[in-house]
Amino acid sequence: MSDMKNLVILGAGTSGTMMANHLHAKLDKNDWEITVVDQFKTHYYQPGFLFLPFDIYTTKQVKKNGKKFIPKRVHYIQEKIEMILPENNIVTLESGTILPYDILIVATGTKTAPDEIEGMNGPEWYKSIFDFYTYEGAKALRDKLREWEGGKLVVHISEMPIKCPVAPLEFAFLADSYFKNKGMRDKVEITYVTPLDGAFTKPKATKALHYLLEEKNIKEVTNFNIERVDFEQNKIIDYADVEVEYDLLVTVPTNMGDALIERSGMGDDLNYIPTNKATLQSNAHENIFAIGDATNLPASKAGSVAHFEAEILTDNILRYINGEPLKEEFDGHANCFIETGNGKALLIDFNYTHEPVEGSFPFPHVGPLKLLKESRTNHMGKMAFRWIYWNMLIKGRHIPFVSSTMSEKGKQYDEVK
């Protein structure tokens, strides 16, 4: 037994669960013991948080017991992690338990940090100010929307990067549909407030998609870097003293990596782990790898990215164990459905160097999904994805015809820097 080596995975979210499944299947059970640590029992289907406020999904559809998805022979510890001590190759838990590791995979994700903006997490939090990036926030917002009589709805991003960067825009689109269906769209003014140049910032996406904002009568306030929320006067104020009034503020708070990363002195300004963007090895320690939202990679913080990363990281862990050079393979591939309301959606496919493009997916020229164009088929794809997530994705099963690096076939792309 003393010869057994330890691989420890911190976090049992999308990335951690996928890695447990992949590595359980690949590592020799006589040599390696795999341990997963996560303090929370519930595994949430996070893409569902977008639909919960509009009563499109029920609470039951977005949560399950996380244990069901961790292979039985993997040790699953449900306890708070105290500290990572990379110099000693150990992780300490709240109870004082010490977990030694030969290889550590950090998959502790990203969290909302409403305390980062003055006045946000104050007396009006979950009264007139909401987030929909947490289960609690999405549910509280659902209850609010059920009785809201209208006024100024402001959909707001505090600062980049955020998880699923298109989600706030989808929220604005779905809100337009929701209020239309309730016969009260004329009573609601929707404004989209972003610290970026626009709702869409890349030239191709702007050209192809800006009509959506006009069609849905959504106003844009751009380059807005929030300084504080004035919850008494119902307005948000930015550093250039621009003010936007709201009756209902739906904000995406600052996103930050887990406080554990800060405690362990392993993160950047936002507690993300500096990570090699092609191999997923941490920059500071060769036996520590990071995946998903916990990294500082210049890729989208999204489940699809984590899925593509997991396939490459599994290969690289095996190479590391065998003393082979790591493959510099991850290209930042992301593949996201964007709900546009009224039962339609878009699909985008992009990576570090290529902008979202037009074309078809996953089969060149055939589809059936169309890239960068609204369609009902894309919406059905997004709805079907919940099944794929619970039954294939987090169990580490390969999704047929979708490769971890981006395919350029059947797409009309220009290289970008």
Binding site: T201, D268, K417
Partner: protein
């Protein structure tokens, strides 16, 4: 595309951002600042130095980063580079515009 700045032919993108940092110098910097109606002071240079340092370390620039920089607070950053301070400061410093999503 090419653009003549301070009597030198410089490679820039459609938005005027320098494509090759090696072509950047203080004279060019002052000219670009002039086009943005900014007269560079000592404080501006301190910020430009900070931005170059971040760029060399390949660390992304952000308002949060400015807040924690110890070089300048965000209000002053806005007053030195009115409008979009990160965009203007990177343009003047000769490095790419901070990246965003779609």
């Amino acid at each position: 595309m090419k653009k003549v700045i301070a009597n030198k032919e410089i490679d820039v993108n459609e938005e005027g951002y320098l494509l090759d940092f090696k072509q950047w110098d203080r004279e060019i910097c002052e000219c670009i600042a002039g086009e943005c109606d900014i007269v560079l002071t000592e404080r501006h240079w301190e910020v430009i130095e900070y931005i170059h340092d971040k760029h060399h370390k390949e660390e992304p620039l952000s308002i949060r980063g400015i807040k924690k920089s110890g070089v300048i607070d965000v209000k002053e950053f806005y007053s030195l580079f009115p409008g979009g301070p990160l965009k203007k400061a990177t343009l003047i410093a000769g490095i790419p515009k901070p990246k965003s999503c779609i």
